[in-house]
């Protein structure tokens, strides 16, 4: 970390990984980074750790582990200035209604799931909400359920993981543990 005055040495391979993360459109897996940079997966991991530490030292950029890969983002500490900069920043934000978030939560926890199963839980029709989620690429059609009517099944996408900063679906807390995480204090329209 430069900030602390502690000398920080970048290895030549660090520069390659840094550049790859800079140009990548989607999160890049450690294995992919290792391959292109000509490193072992273990060294790539060390490189990522080093870069992450480097950027956490007062930089405006940061490394994020998301959707099974790595991504370079701006640091949360400079959020305000970046958000006010042109429209580029704002266009990255996805506006979801509470109904959409709730349907998304059902898909995330119960996937693969049919529309009527979601409706059963939420007690309301969800056609328009599902349309929104499909258009945003947050859920996808994942085949059909066997049985009457063979309804379509839905799953979350890797874009879902990206938007919510999750590494994998398994990193969501279990449904029954949610009380502790969220608590009951949350009013509507949060």
């Amino acid at each position: 970390m430069c900030r602390s005055g502690e000398p920080f040495f970048l290895e030549p391979s660090d520069a390659v990984v840094e550049a790859l993360l800079f140009i990548a459109v989607d999160p890049v897996s450690t294995r992919e980074l290792a391959e292109v940079a000509g490193l072992s997966v273990a060294s790539a991991e060390k490189t990522l750790e080093r870069l992450k530490r480097h950027y956490s030292g007062g930089h405006g950029l940061a490394l994020l582990s998301v959707a099974g890969g790595w991504q370079m983002t701006t640091s949360p500490s400079v959020e305000e200035a970046v958000a006010s900069f042109r429209e580029t920043a704002q266009s990255q934000r996805v506006r979801l209604s509470k109904a959409a978030l709730e349907s998304l939560a059902v898909v995330a926890y119960d996937q693969p799931v049919t529309r009527s199963e979601i409706e059963e839980i939420r007690g309301v029709r969800c056609d328009r909400v599902l349309d929104t989620l499909l258009r945003y690429g947050l859920i996808r059609i994942a085949g059909r359920k066997k049985g009457t009517g063979n309804p379509l099944l839905y799953r979350t996408t890797s874009r879902f993981l990206e938007i919510f900063g999750l590494d994998a679906i398994s990193s969501l807390p279990r449904l029954e543990d949610l009380e502790e995480v969220v608590g009951d204090d949350d009013g509507p329209g949060e």
Binding site: Q71, T74, T88, K98, A99, G123, L175, P188
Partner: protein
């Protein structure tokens, strides 16, 4: 829904928030129960509807679809009550059903609540994630992820709709054998009359004999064929031509009759 919810007064009006803030009737019910506006142990339907109605009166603009969502749920609960009171049923059963209806709602709420919390968690995660920004990608939005079945099928059905519109706008006469399953326009009288005049000239002028197969070969499409057949039948009925078939499944000879 992008509107922020109004900050709520903590004491009395704990659920008097922007209506858009609710994800549905169960969400609203959860809040009513949590704010002890109604008893959690049993949820009396009349009370729920009363609370809801007063809520509606206080909110200025409630989208009709949202009101409908709540009414649909209320109707479902009401159905349970009506069944409970139905005279055909035995007393015991009625009491059971009444209890079932109320239990039903509790079960519904219990099953729903974890997802409500999960939605709140997602909102929090998203908020956290949105503090960071990505480099804008060079690719435009016109690119679809490989495996995006939704876009694939949407494009197909939009394309099919566009084709149908195009076809119904253009002239229907598109040749025999092009069966796209779309019914063609039924020939009108004017078309038949015009064809009758054409045929009359044809059979009158020709020295040689006309047959049905020869006539049909001249036709360009299904519509023309139907018009010709109708014209022939009509002319025959009027006695302006004679139709004669020598043998079964053989060709039909058409001869003009001299009008006296």
């Amino acid at each position: 829904m992008t509107r922020e919810t109004q900050p709520t007064a903590p004491e009395s009006l704990s659920f008097d928030v922007d209506f858009d803030g609710f994800s549905g009737p169960l969400d609203l019910l959860c809040l009513l129960v949590e704010s002890r506006e109604i008893e959690a142990a049993s949820v009396p339907l009349a009370e729920v509807i009363h609370r809801y109605a007063s809520f509606l009166l206080r909110s200025r603009e409630v989208p009709i679809s949202r009101a409908a969502e709540f009414l649909a749920l209320a109707a479902r609960l009401l159905l349970g009550k009506i069944r409970a009171l139905f005279p055909d049923r035995s007393c015991e059963e009625a009491v059971e059903n009444q209890e079932e209806a109320e239990e039903d709602l509790l079960v519904l709420l219990e099953r729903y609540r974890p997802y409500r919390r999960a939605a709140a968690l997602l909102a929090r995660l998203q908020k956290e994630r949105e503090r960071r920004f990505l480099r804008p990608s060079e690719e435009g939005p016109l690119f679809y992820d490989l495996g995006d079945l939704w876009s694939l099928s949407l494009l197909w059905w939009e394309r099919i709709a566009a084709c149908r519109n195009r076809r119904s706008e253009t002239v229907v006469d598109d040749g025999i054998g092009h069966d796209d399953g779309i019914p063609e326009v039924i020939p009108d009288e004017v078309q038949v009359e015009r064809r009758m005049a054409e045929l009359a000239l044809l059979v009158a002028d020709e020295v040689e004999e006309w047959t049905l197969s020869r006539l049909i070969r001249r036709e360009r499409g299904r519509i023309d064929l139907i018009v010709t057949l109708l014209a022939l039948l009509e002319m025959s009925r009027l006695g302006r031509i004679s139709l004669k078939q020598e043998e079964m499944l053989g060709d039909v000879q058409i001869r003009g009759t001299v009008l006296s």
